[in-house]
């Protein structure tokens, strides 16, 4: 057996050395090899040329995914020659990378992406662009150069919400921000927008910027219960997500403080939040309709493929960074908003 162990050790050492030599060699084809770049091919979609597009959301469970998809499909309904495939990355950046590679292999004409991580997808995005495929990120962008990014404003939404709320409360109103999880703070800056307005005007006294673990009704409930216990005197709960705001409204009701006049503001304009505003359980939300994000992304994509535009053609530069505005929805305009929304309100009686 000693002999066997010795053989095993020798084999292991030889293989490890070979592996290190292989990895360390500077002549590897992969090392800084010049990437062959292709400009995006021109696809004459108006004359029936086939065009294949792919949409990779963070996951099929992403709340705005069906509405974004609806917007995209609406934009291509007169183009039977355009196919749009969707893939579920299961909220995992590794899966998104694999799916991006899959789309490059298939040679799709455009990739839409809700990037789970701003950095992890950069090399694959660069590969796609180099292969002549325009990459359009929606809401959650990537730091690497790609053709376009489309999203609703977050910083401005927070800033504008603060402006509206300041008209409802006294100066120096005691406020807690129920913020996004720490890893999303860079991409979702509505909390920052709110805070900056508070600093500039002194309209709010920020008691705490509470980073949640995830944004959900349950976590919003727990977070709000905690801050309600911690701070007896609160005027505003600014929530960076509607789910959090709904959870906060439930926590206020559970604490028997629904008559304290605490202002609860959300972000997104989801059906449950619009309903809560109509019922007077929430004060307002920064409403956005993901349908228009999807529509805008698709219309942009159709233009890019017709013109053969992508980041490579533009000398490796961003082509467009589109910011769609949000709308402040309160009790006054909520019914009108519900009537015009593309969110699925069928569960509510309006």
């Amino acid at each position: 057996m000693k002999k066997n162990k010795l053989i095993a050790l020798v084999i292991a050492c030889v293989l490890a050395a070979a592996m290190m030599a292989g990895c360390g060699s500077s002549g590897g084809a992969g090392e800084e090899a010049a990437v062959e770049t292709h400009e995006a091919p021109i696809v004459d979609i108006n004359n029936g040329a086939a065009c294949k597009m792919a949409y990779i959301p963070m996951g099929a469970g992403q709340e705005d995914f069906p509405v974004i998809l609806q917007g995209m499909q609406e934009a291509i309904q007169l183009y039977p020659n355009i196919t749009l495939d969707t893939y579920d990355a299961g909220f995992n950046p590794s899966n998104q990378i694999d799916l991006m590679n899959e789309c490059i292999t298939q040679g799709v004409n455009v990739i839409f992406l809700n990037a789970m991580d701003a950095t992890a997808l950069n090399s694959t995005i660069a590969e796609a662009e180099a292969a002549g495929i325009p990459v359009i990120t929606i809401n959650n962008g990537a730091s690497g150069v790609h053709t376009a990014h489309i999203q609703n404003t977050t910083y401005d939404a927070g800033y504008e919400a603060a402006q509206v709320i300041s008209g409802m409360v006294d100066k120096g109103a005691k406020t807690v921000i129920l913020d996004v999880p720490a890893e999303l703070k860079l991409a979702c800056t509505m909390g920052q927008g709110f805070e900056d307005y508070a600093k500039e005007t002194g309209a709010f006294e920020i008691l705490e910027d509470y980073a949640q673990t995830i944004t959900s009704i349950e976590v919003g409930y727990q977070a709000a219960s905690e801050v309600l216990t911690k701070y007896q005197d609160i005027d505003v709960l600014y929530c960076v997500n509607d789910n959090t705001a709904i959870g906060a409204a439930q926590a206020i009701e559970a604490a028997g403080r629904q008559n304290d006049g605490i202002i609860i503001w959300g972000y997104c304009g989801m059906p449950a939040a619009l309903d809560a505003i109509a019922q007077g359980k929430m004060t307002g939300t920064s409403y956005s309709d993901p349908f228009y994000e999807g529509y805008a992304a698709m219309v942009s994509a159709m233009n890019y493929v017709q013109l053969g535009v992508n980041a490579t053609k533009l000398g490796n530069e961003f082509y467009a960074d589109v910011m769609l505005p949000t709308k402040n929805v309160t009790e006054e305009n909520v019914i009108e908003t519900i009537r015009g929304t593309h969110w699925d309100m069928s569960a509510y009686n309006y």
């Binding site: 057996m1 066997n4 162990k5 053989i7 095993a8 084999i11 292991a12 293989l15 490890a16 070979a18 592996m19 290190m20 292989g22 990895c23 360390g24 060699s25 590897g28 084809a29 992969g30 090392e31 800084e32 099929a60 196919t83 495939d85 969707t86 893939y87 579920d88 299961g90 909220f91 995992n92 950046p93 590794s94 990378i97 694999d98 799916l99 590679n101 899959e102 490059i104 292999t105 298939q106 040679g107 789970m116 991580d117 701003a118 950095t119 992890a120 950069n122 090399s123 730091s143 720490a182 890893e183 703070k185 860079l186 910027d209 980073a211």
Partner: protein, 345 residues
């Protein structure tokens, strides 16, 4: 020539891989593209390296679901070290030590406190992910920062040689080493013995506690290797790194013939299992199926693989029983003949 059951079992997985490959090759135009084959191998290598480690644990009668947490923790540490310019051998070594330490901790907990592997590793997986969260780069306000690695020497690990990623070579090397250890050494023999019957092997002089701890340690080290190469490919690490990989690796091992409960399977089976699982994923994306059908397809193909394995096990079981009955009958006949002659058997 007598073909062993083990070999037939591998042929089944190999046959399924060939069938899937043929179906995809004939029905999906982009499947046979060189880039696609390279991608299949890269993704399979990631799962496969974890499978190498998991196969030790599974054959030894355990299960490790903390692989995802170990990948997350060691990957984030590797990312931090690589970002400050550490040479790649140091980064790899530190990550492997961390992975091995996590695995050792798993094994120690399980053997020291007689805990259930499944629940323990599920729990430690959360602990390791928590360590990853502690280790990840944050700004002054606690916001997690996405850290892009610019260390060219380290990033080389994520590159390829003539189109084949280095991680694929590492996977093959580790599989060969694991095969050798499991089939040619006393350690391997003890691992199988422990997985088949822990009490009997302990009574035969095998130090089951040490063996179990060592299998978990190997698994942790393998996870760290997979993490380092993945981080080098992705040029960053994040909290979801390795998420779900524990279950994926176990599933791939089982598809490859490594038995849940221990005592059966080998590294080559785990190797084939990883290829099979990746092939299923890769192939189903080619048809533009609706997301829900992608899941149905994926699950159905894995079910078919497991059912064919169960069918084979039932068939060989029946054959063995029939052989045993035949032997017993022959023995009884001989005994009867001997008695009739008035002699002794």
């Amino acid at each position: 020539m007598k073909i062993s059951q083990k070999f037939i079992r591998k042929l089944i997985t190999l046959g399924l891989i060939v069938i899937l490959f043929a179906i995809f090759a004939f029905t999906a135009p982009s499947f046979l593209k060189l880039r696609n084959i390279q991608e299949i191998l890269r993704v399979a290598a990631y799962t496969g390296i974890i499978c190498v480690g998991s196969s030790f644990v599974l054959i030894g009668g355990g299960i490790d679901l903390s692989s995802g947490g170990i990948i997350c923790f060691s990957g984030i540490v590797a990312c931090r070290l690589a970002s400050i310019g550490m040479p790649w051998p140091v980064v790899l070594l530190v990550a492997v030590v961390i992975g091995a330490a996590c695995g050792y901790f798993n094994g120690w907990l399980i053997t020291r406190f007689y805990l259930n592997d499944f629940i323990t590793t599920l729990a430690t997986g959360f602990v390791f992910t928590g360590f990853g969260l502690l280790a990840i780069l944050k700004d002054e306000s606690g916001t997690l920062m996405s850290q892009e690695i610019k260390n060219k020497g380290f990033l080389l690990l994520g590159k390829h040689l003539n189109g084949f990623y280095y991680i694929v070579f590492v996977w093959i090397i580790l599989t060969v080493i694991a095969w050798f250890i499991l089939s040619q050494t006393r350690y391997g023999l003890h691992t199988y013995a422990m997985g088949s019957n822990s009490k009997s092997s302990e009574m035969s002089g095998v130090n089951v506690r040490k063996m179990k701890v060592s299998t978990f340690t190997i698994c942790g080290a393998c996870c760290a290797v997979a993490a380092v190469f993945t981080v080098a490919y992705q040029t960053t690490a994040y909290l979801n790194l390795g998420s779900g990989m524990g279950f994926n690796a176990v599933a791939a091992c089982v598809v490859g013939g490594v038995m849940l409960g221990g005592g059966k399977g080998d590294a080559v089976g785990a190797f084939l299992g990883a290829i099979f699982m990746t092939l299923v994923n890769n192939g189903m994306y080619k048809y533009g199926l609706d997301t829900s059908w992608q899941y149905v397809f994926q699950g159905a193909v894995i079910l078919i693989a497991i059912m064919s394995d169960a069918g084979f096990a039932a068939f060989t079981g029946r054959r063995l029983r029939a052989l045993a009955e035949k032997n017993n009958a022959e023995e009884a006949l001989l005994e009867a003949k001997a008695k009739a002659k008035g002699g002794n058997v």
